[in-house]
Symmetry: C3
Subunit: 666 residues, 3 copies
């Protein structure tokens, strides 16, 4: 079943309105609603006094219209009576002050009182709803994140470190605390890395980020254990924040869940011009699919302008539909719009939903209703259809956290670099997976490791195995710089990766803002166009690898910038600098040809092509993110699933913000 629904807060509206809202939802084609998120004060108005009657009534009204339910556990925002129990429950910011009451997510995830109260409300909810057939599953909390630096977290950090290192001499050794006399002689001396002492020891700083991530994984696990115990038939998810959110290791957070869902907002800008970066959403979808290697849901799909103090640009007519199909093209098996009706109260007064404040259906509702109709026809056909990729990008939260400790170059950002590489490949209209460095890579032909900064021996072995088994592996600059304790390796870069690269970094140059180098591609390498080198230049030295491109400026002009090495039965490319999306779009075809990966349909950048596969059938999604009519040349005969016209062949036109879903006619 394809889930198509809405995030709904009946507790914000008069009960008299509920039936009318449910009718409108049913008319829109919704078959699921998320309820209960943030409703702790209604579930437990005072300690130990529970009230689920209002939610039972809301569920009944929805069930009567065949709308199923995802229930949120309400721990993301605690009632005043909970937070009044102790000032220690409030999260400590990096500046050492506590988050005050008045927003949400005030809590410290390691606070025992908060954990205890969370257990009780989740248990009460789980017991009440365990047997209810209308419940599809649970969303735990809401958008986990943000690190706490409090003394309770410090103590938990000490336990985490003791667990990891066993003894202080070992910790002192791997962190290198001899530097600046930071040698710890008591676990309690170890601080959380407060901002006024920046920069901290990089080993401490990286471990703290891992610990903070693990704290939320544990807080989630506590809830999962309760729900699994009491409601074995229900599915469990959490709403992630896509590729962009950098503070949690999402692979770890996904591990204990049944499936991944995420919150997809594309029109959040207030200050930039009129564009939407559809590639960013695409990377969000592919990353979310990659967390468990499995299809996912969009738990919150933007359906109106966002905003807290300010109102963002609103989705343009057609965009909600376009984004919905983009999600499906990337593997979404559920789409839930946020939120039903724009709230009249509260901090998210301007976070617009399907309906405006006044509750009268307008063009956004009508657009969703149209999608609902299309989904009714298509949903069953598509649900469970897989994405198949020959190409994978390695996402390393260790590396990402390490760059948060030391950016290296002030204009470099791991996430932006990853996005640039991704977008360069996405322009080839091929599917790309996002996986972990320790995942099994055998099913890929081409693997790219953007700025894989922290590399364990196990990761190095995994990568070698992949290459030796005929894979093509691509590194960009700053790979292999750090060991797992965030120390710089004791050998020439890229350290433990050097052997497979057949090259070493003789020296490097961190470029000031506004300064670039340019590469010249060696004769015989089929890369077109000039290649800009940004942020960082590794000057390479190689006896063994083939030089692919060289710097053209500065005192290292003529020295190698890109090398290609044969290793085992595979190949390793080292890109000793950083580029932009266009750079990777230029290089991608060459890398794909090295790996024997076929290119997708050739289109302008405005067009995105996605493929889902089910029972050997390939569903082709053609999405026009641009403002102009686009013409796509088809090489075969297709059936247009949205218009039911067939056969379609030759040139097809796709209007701005429009979508085609085609299936090949045998």
């Amino acid at each position: 079943m394809f889930y198509f629904g809405v995030d709904y807060y009946p507790e914000h509206w008069p009960e008299e309105r509920w039936s009318y809202d449910a009718d409108l939802m049913a008319e829109a084609g919704f078959n699921i609603a998320r309820l209960g998120e943030f409703a702790w004060s209604r579930f437990e108005p005072s300690e130990g006094n529970y009230d689920f009657g209002w939610l039972d009534r809301a569920i009944e009204i929805l069930s009567d219209r065949e709308i199923r339910i995802v229930l949120g556990t309400p721990t993301a925002s605690a009632p005043p009576w909970v937070m009044a129990k102790s000032p220690e429950m409030f999260r400590m910011l990096p500046n050492g002050s506590r988050v005050p009451y008045g927003h949400r997510r005030e809590y410290c995830p390691n606070n025992p009182t908060y954990i205890d109260l969370s257990k009780r409300i989740v248990s009460a909810l789980a017991e009440h709803y365990a047997e209810r057939l209308e419940i599809t599953g649970w969303q735990i909390d809401n958008e986990f994140g943000d690190r706490c630096y409090c003394p309770i977290c410090a103590a938990a950090f000490h336990a985490w470190l003791r667990d990891r290192y066993g003894t202080l001499p070992i910790l002192n050794q791997v962190w290198g605390t001899a530097f600046w006399s930071h040698e710890y002689t008591d676990w309690n001396q170890i601080p959380t890395p407060l901002a006024d002492a920046n920069p901290h020891n990089p080993g401490l700083a990286l471990d703290f980020k891992r610990f903070a991530s693990d704290s939320y994984v544990a807080f989630q696990k506590m809830q999962i254990d309760i729900l699994r115990g009491k409601c074995p038939g229900h599915l469990i998810t959490h709403n992630f924040m896509g590729f962009k959110y950098p503070k949690l290791d999402y692979f770890d957070l996904a591990r204990d869940l049944d499936f991944v869902s995420w919150d997809n907002y594309l029109r959040m800008q207030w200050t930039i011009n009129d564009g939407v970066d559809s590639r960013a959403a695409a990377l969000g979808h592919d990353t979310m699919r990659g967390l468990k290697g499995r299809n996912f849901w969009v738990m919150e799909q933007q359906s109106g302008g966002g905003g807290w103090e300010c109102v963002s640009v609103s989705p343009r007519p057609g965009e909600i539909r376009l984004w919905t199909y983009q999600a499906i093209a990337h593997g979404a098996d559920g789409i839930i719009y946020f939120r039903w009706r724009t709230n009249r109260f509260g901090a998210e007064q301007y976070w617009h939903g399907v309906l405006d404040h006044h509750g009268i259906p307008g063009h956004r509702y009508e657009e969703i209703k149209r999608i609902g109709k299309e989904i009714r026809n298509l949903g069953e056909t598509l649900v469970g259809a897989r994405i198949e990729s020959d190409v994978a990008l390695l996402l390393s939260y260790d590396s990402r956290f390490s760059f948060q400790v030391q950016q290296g170059n002030p204009d470099f950002d791991y996430g932006e670099h990853f996005q640039d590489v991704y977008s360069g490949f996405a322009q080839q209209n091929i599917s790309v997976d996002v996986v972990q460095p320790l995942d099994d890579l055998d099913k890929y032909r081409l693997v790219i490791a953007p700025a894989l900064h922290v590399v364990s021996d196990a990761v190095a072995e995994n990568l070698k195995r992949f290459v030796q088994g005929c894979g093509v592996l691509v590194f960009s600059a700053r790979c292999g710089v750090k060991d797992v304790a965030n120390a710089v390796v004791d050998r020439q870069l890229p350290g433990v990766l050097s052997e497979m690269c057949g090259t070493v970094v003789e020296e490097y140059d961190s470029l000031p803002t506004g300064v670039e180098n340019e590469l010249e591609v060696d004769h015989g390498i089929p890369i077109e166009g000039a290649i800009a080198a940004k942020y960082w230049c590794d000057v390479l030295k190689t006896d063994q690898a083939r030089v692919v491109a060289r710097y053209t400026r500065n005192y290292y002009a003529g020295k190698p910038a890109i090398t290609l090495n044969n290793f085992g039965d595979g190949k390793v490319v080292y890109l000793g600098t950083f580029g932009e999306e266009a750079t990777y779009a230029s290089i991608a075809p060459w890398l794909m040809s090295l790996a024997g990966v076929e290119t997708g349909i050739n289109t302008s950048r405005a067009i995105e092509v996605g493929v889902r596969i089910k029972n050997d059938k390939r569903f082709l999604f053609i999405l026009n993110h641009g403002a102009k009519d686009e013409v796509i040349k088809l090489d075969k005969q297709y059936h247009d699933l949205l218009t039911d016209i067939k056969p379609i062949t030759g040139d097809i036109h796709v209007a701005p913000l429009d979508v085609k879903i085609l299936i090949e006619i045998a």
Copy 2:
């Protein structure tokens, strides 16, 4: 009597100098001086030990030269011994830290110890000076402002809320605390809105701003009660900070006073180029006049470059005189220059006065002396002369506070928008009043309500009454969005104003920075020039109102942006977007013609024309704020009061920074 004087701090200078200073003051034509402000440590060197002898001597020296006295109560800056009584006396900043000692205005206005000590010093002063005939009146404290977020204020806020809402269920209902589980079960749970929890519940945030404003109103009232009790013959004022200061409801603060005075600084820029915005000062004057619907004083008129750490641009020769007459043109019946001599010590070492640090009279003194001579001739003639306006702007502190909670669009500012609208009308050389939405509007023909965001039922009724009684009422975008609890209304915008507008907002578009729309005016509407639409576009839908202009860009091109509705015997114009000064200057003549308001003399923008009326005589002020000689065409015969030349007729020349004061010859 027209008051013409100076702010004087004899305690900063050797007593030997006082007589010489007083001679210079008399020579400048001063008849009043403000004394005693900030002198608490001299009045009460230690607790309960009073010393007014030095001030008595200073007053005597001034009185001997027929200079009268306004006394300041000294509570704006407490001596170290006062603030040493308790760390709780220090105001808490939005970040949760306390203002430390060392500047001024450190105090929490709700601190009972501070209130008690303030009562005692004010009582002692009042008793000492109650019978002194030289005293014209009192200025309470100095430039009230800045919110305190401390626990004592929190408790006072709880009392204020209990007073307003009675019960927590009602408060929870109107604030909508069901959102994010903020339902309060104990008054003490309600926080002050500290910055790290932003954004807060908009209801809480708006009420806190009202409460903080009321705290200063109460602190002032405490002093007024003492002074009224002990010195019934003295006038009482406070020195306001003009239109620009946005944190206090100045109508409330003015209510208990005998008259309003304010501090007028035009040359405070350090970073911008060479201009002075004379329209900003004009709006300041008109707002101050509007607070009590009565003439006012300038208690601090800039007489030198301002500055704390840095020195601002100094008034150019001629500007002090120009600004003095501008104030008078707008209804000032007293002008007091700040300050006599530039201080050699203290944080305001670079806040320059009439004399420089060295005390030798220079060109600024000479310029003021010239004004003094002119005022000696003119003052009695002008004092009490009224301003009469057919046009009023509605200033709503509720709306202003609400926009401080949620700006709506990152480039929108309530104060700047208000100023733009004001300046557009001021360019017509007509008088404009600034009044409250609940004021009696019957005497106006044209009323403009810029961004009247928060609208109570009573306000809506008042506006309807005005329109039905033949008025023309103009709204700009974002009117009627909020109820008094800062919730978005439960119906289509402009909510409770929709009926009189005859139009509703079908949807809205918050524009990103740098993006504009443009309006096309419908055939037959006499507005000249293109109209830019900035920040926000309300897309209007109307069956009833006439469409005045339409958008020309984006997906809502062709849809209505401005409508005109007949309602009762009046008319209502809804401007569904925001413009700049030039926009309102283009629209104003059309609106004035709708309302039957006559335009003023036609001049370039550099010229400002003001009219005061007394005993049926109209005094015409022509002020040249520009750098060029300007020629004004007179239609009648006039008497030039400054030069005493008559008759004047036809073209008159006004030199840069010069002034004409004309009276019609019958």
Copy 3:
């Protein structure tokens, strides 16, 4: 002996590596190494348990290769067990929060526990190494600086004030605390100037900066006393941070030391383009030489890219050598490179040294080895050679601190202005000394006092004496504004300097950002080119002095901007505005001709010429800081000491980043 060496941290590397490193050092020509800095946790792993064995072994390995030792006292970064003793040991920031543990320099210099523990570790070190002949001397702590605002410092500040002023009435008088009722009645009421109360009383603010500087002078003196007592044969220094560091009075800090050394980093930029400001390094050297009027060492000479979170631009090939000879040209008798090998751990992981992380010698090592060879030949010849200057600049930390309290104009910076003046003279290729206003000035012909803001009577007398004895003295704007209590003087500016200037400031104009004036030079004054007037314009009035230049814009066009006065047998020039480097380069030749100072060799700006003198021999250093080959015209016959070629005459070519050291052939 010329000291040529490296900063070395053997405790960061395996002991097995030490001999290999020492061999490489010896091969590079090093004869000294700084050790022990930051090694407190290795010296005293727990309280009172000392371990110097590891350092003894490292010293032995170095001594075996004839490398001598400077030992650092380790108090700049305390081990966790030290800082765990009390939260009061942590320095308080201006925002009132404490520096947390995790970086370095966490300590309050007035904390008695910290002082006590420091005494003990320094005593233990001194006792252990007192008799060791390999030890040349000691560096105390590391880069003193940063003010502490804690209650213990407040108490120490009160004692300091009591010492300075004796009684509170006197303090209240000179600070002018009558302003805003700040009159103190108890010493304990006096706050440290926390940021949230800015601006503070300027008297308090200036005195606090003096006190904070004195606190470090006292902390250093405590260590000097111990070392002098136990190790009378050892030299004592501290590593200063050059001209740019503005928070300590470096003259005071240098007074108790045997010699001055400093840390010279030129390539620290991450955001600006590719340039290095060689004049800034030159001013650093000259200032450091001026602190004791004696040659100095570079204790940390940059040998790789710097960086904490980010990596800066790395020295370009040739720059390390160029900077080394620049230091020598300005009077360095010791050059020590920072650091030996780039650290794999800790906050300075990216602060690169002679070797990279991997420890394999690269081109930076080779460049230093080349210098080592050259120094072996030249060092003995040059060591002790003097710099002789006819021109001095007066550096006043009182004035610098005063501008930190009140910048005056938002674009004015004392340090930048000083640098601009310095660079204008340095372009004449002459030597310039940097001295204190109270120093004996008799040996100079020309003295420049840039923005000498705070002037005591003693300073005024010293300057008069200099001028009357035939000197030429030059002031720029904002001289003589303040008395020593930071009050504005009670007379026309430049106050106590007016008599010798023969001019007074009639008024002044602080220019907004982007606004300039321009000067026209009077007929007969040999200054070429237009002179821009920036930030500030003093409008001068003079009966006595000759007008040199006048303003050309604004209402004071035609009024004097620069005057020249005969006073005694000397001359005084008052520059009533600020310029840029080019301005002073234009004016310098005229000022030098007034004073009878000869100009140096005429070269392009890229070339720097330095002269050292020993036994009547003049060593000429010609340094090419530019990117182009430069041709210098020689007027005599020279011996090229680096190439040993002679005679050299006529045109010589100096390649980019190359150096010539020439000695005249008699």
